[in-house]
Subunit: 110 residues, 2 copies
DNA sequence: TTCTATATATAAGAATCCTATATGTAAGGG
DNA sequence: CCCTTACATATAGGATTCTTATATATAGAA
């Protein structure tokens, strides 16, 4: 699995990307991130919940309490229009970082 | 320029990669990172110096005081064998992160 | 002598991750 | 009925790595 030093800062992009495919609650969100990256990227729930609160305060996502068929209380998050607007430049920024690191590591040694 | 939230954690890879092309002192190192990424990746010296101390403690780089032709005192860093060994898995980890993020952002929307 | 570029250094604070801990419900096996 | 596992959210305390601001000092040009 990717270490915490390297993956630092990716949670925001991961959450927005996964939620864009449909609303989810925190616990399931963590599983999707892990599944969709074949276990490479993984976040503890203790990291995800505070992240979700921050993103909700910034109006990028919106949470609502729901009760599942089994009677389980959980908070369901969906991306807001502001969140969708945020996603594009965020992806571009990550792509730019990728290009920058690629150039740095390739200079003078193939 | 890439924001601090996104680039977080890249300094270690950047320093090792640039120093691999030859020994440098901190001030020049900062310029190389900026130049080689066309200004996309940029670190303040206040961020770089503590990073260089940490990397020296971990024996990935080694610093030595030198005096330039102009009589200027400066600390010249070079990568140690341990640092070169560190670089390969670090690059692999970053490559894996980008694959993971690519998969996440592409699922269900091209 | 004053301004700019070079060069290193530290302090205080913000952001984002970690482990550990807490609480509680639902479902299934013994 | 009780015990364990899976589900689900929450917070505390700590580590790391950035930020801005500040300090010191030399070299060269104007």
């Amino acid at each position: 699995m990717i270490g915490s030093g390297v993956k630092r800062g990716t949670a925001e992009l991961a959450v927005l990307s996964v939620l864009r495919d449909g609303p989810l609650h925190g616990y399931e969100l963590a599983r999707r991130i892990e599944q969709q990256t074949d276990g490479a990227l993984r976040f503890t729930l203790a990291a995800l919940y505070p992240m979700l609160y921050r993103m909700e305060q910034q109006r990028w996502i919106r949470g609502s309490w729901e009760t599942s068929a089994s009677g389980r209380r959980r908070r369901c998050y969906r991306v807001t229009p502001a969140g969708k607007k945020k996603l594009s430049p965020l992806r571009r920024e990550w792509a730019e970082l990728f290009r920058a690191l690629h150039r740095l590591t390739k200079v003078a040694h193939g």
